[in-house]
């Protein structure tokens, strides 16, 4: 067993678990935060995306014990009914889902992606690598390619993200 201290959505948790426990399984099975989803368990779908120390990662491909002292934000920590984050609201307003299974990962991913864009990170479709890419639909799709939606709600997902991106720019 491995002792690990995690701060999840602002709350401290002392986890005592087999070192094989992934961060995703720790969140869902040990801590009871079932918002983060297991799609593939192999880094191929993005349903398990959470934000660790400000960065989005696949929680299925990392061990909980590697995150001693880290700050983790899951979809539950972004907002709650009655107090939704801008992206959570925009996904509701634009119907950015059908079954909803990929949605928590999409929203965590998009939250951190907007910060990456704000920090001037380029993407594979950026014409030049200089700072300050405008988030065109092509940029949004490329930057969100790590989140697969089996229902193909992509047009509405992009609409929701674009609205928040433009709101943040204005």
């Amino acid at each position: 067993m491995q002792q690990t201290n995690l701060t999840i959505n602002g709350q401290e948790h002392a986890l005592d678990a087999d070192p094989r426990t992934t961060l995703l399984d720790a969140l869902r099975n040990h801590i009871g935060l079932t918002g983060s989803k297991k799609g593939c368990d192999h880094g191929q779908c993005g349903a398990c995306t959470v934000i660790v120390n400000g960065r989005r990662i696949n929680s299925c491909l990392t061990l909980a014990c590697m995150h001693d002292g880290d700050e983790i934000t899951t979809v539950e920590g972004l907002g709650q009914p009655g107090n939704l984050s801008p992206l959570q609201s925009a996904f509701v307003a634009h119907d950015g889902y059908q079954c909803g299974y990929c949605t928590p990962g999409q929203i965590c991913s998009a939250t951190a992606m907007l910060q990456e864009a704000k920090d001037g990170w380029p993407s594979n479709v950026s014409d030049d690598l200089a700072k300050g890419q405008k988030l065109t639909d092509e940029e949004i799709s490329e930057r969100m390619s790590g989140n697969i939606c089996r229902c193909a709600a992509y047009p509405n997902i992009v609409d929701a993200i674009r609205e928040v991106a433009e709101g943040a720019e204005a």
């Binding site: 491995q2 087999d18 070192p19 094989r20 992934t22 368990d41 192999h42 880094g43 993005g46 995306t49 960065r55 989005r56 990662i57 696949n58 491909l61 990392t62 061990l63 014990c65 590697m66 001693d68 991913s109 951190a112 992606m113 990456e116 920090d119 001037g120 990170w121 380029p122 993407s123 594979n124 950026s126 690598l129 200089a130 799709s141 490329e142 930057r143 969100m144 390619s145 790590g146 989140n147």
Partner: protein, 330 residues
């Protein structure tokens, strides 16, 4: 996943000491190792977590290059202002790989050591000389869409799947390695990965316990750099073929040429004769055809990947045209 013991190393000597032993592995981002451990393709009995080591900086070297620490994430490397300005082929190659989430975790050292995506390597029900030496190679005569056209052996026809190292090969970067008792050595990226030969289980030259501490880039050549990756979907897919180029132009002639190719061999493919053929010549389609002939003379399809030969010819021509046309203004 098989059980293992977990150790967190505080510094490089401790990491090397802890990882010495046949079934001991470093874990960095974990994005390749854990994937393979879940499938029990890899089953180390000890994991040495190196994430607390002080190898997260990109610093300038005395000869005008950059030293990228082994734990610099792919995201940080691709977004670094100096790399974007002086080594755009490296930013481009990294950004063409995996996804935003994976690049946030993937490290410089781990990316170099990522293992093949051969379907049979991943399937423990199948024979595979890389996973289980002596068991055979199910890919030969099987599904070979992802497989090598250069440097394969009768024991293994797998490819090295990564993008980052292809750019590093074109840039002629070096890998800094630390071993037992503080012994260190430097290996050119071009020599870091091996051809499969009769030891397909060995992907690269690292010996037991050896740790990659950094990758150093020589001073930029001032050439025009590009990375072109062709794949089955527009994003979040491995290369079928890729071309990394650093091409300098002077007085209408190619003054510097360095090309490396991904998705085609057990290592980033680099052919010095190709760089030499282009250097000093005026760019033309005839020259580019000659270059492709030289590159592809030893290409060998496996059936399902025969298309890569023509695809590589065309991708090379496209990259050379782009690089030399833009360079003409110099």
């Amino acid at each position: 996943m098989k059980p293992f013991t977990y150790a967190r190393a505080a510094d490089t000597p401790e990491a090397v000491r802890e990882a010495s032993g046949p079934s001991h592995d470093f874990i960095a981002g974990g994005t390749n190792l854990l994937d393979l451990m879940k499938l029990e393709v890899m089953a180390p009995d000890k994991l040495v977590d190196i994430n607390r080591l002080d190898l997260k900086q990109i610093s300038e070297t005395e000869d005008g290059g950059l030293r990228i620490g082994a734990l610099v994430t792919n995201s940080d490397c691709a977004a670094d202002d100096r790399i974007r300005r002086d080594y755009p082929v490296l930013s481009r190659a990294i950004l063409a790989g995996a996804s935003g989430q994976l690049r946030n975790k993937a490290t410089t050292g781990g990316n170099l050591c990522q293992r093949t995506r051969c379907y049979y390597f991943y399937d423990t029900a199948m024979p595979c000389n890389k996973r289980e030496p002596g068991s055979g190679c199910q890919a030969i005569g099987g599904a070979t869409r992802l497989h090598a056209i250069f440097g394969a052996s009768d024991q293994c026809i797998a490819t090295y799947p990564g993008d980052m190292a292809v750019a590093m090969s074109a840039l002629d970067a070096s890998v800094e390695i630390e071993g037992k008792d503080g012994a260190s050595r430097t290996v050119p990226v071009r020599d870091f990965h091996r051809l499969p030969g009769d030891r397909p289980d060995k992907d690269n030259v690292l010996e037991d316990g050896e740790l990659i501490t950094a990758v150093t880039l020589p001073a930029p050549t001032g050439g025009r750099q590009s990375y072109r990756k062709v794949r089955d979907r527009a994003s979040y897919a491995f290369a079928l073929v890729s071309v990394a180029a650093d091409i300098g132009m002077e007085d209408g002639k190619i003054s510097h040429a360095a090309l490396a190719f991904g998705g085609v061999a057990h290592k980033p493919w680099h052919k010095p004769e190709l760089d030499a053929l282009l250097t000093g010549k005026e760019p033309s389609d005839a020259l580019f055809a000659e270059a492709a002939d030289l590159l592809l003379a030893e290409a060998q399809g496996q059936g399902g990947n025969n298309f890569k030969i023509l695809l590589l010819r065309r991708t090379l021509r496209a990259v050379l045209r782009e690089a030399t046309q833009m360079g003409e203004t110099a």
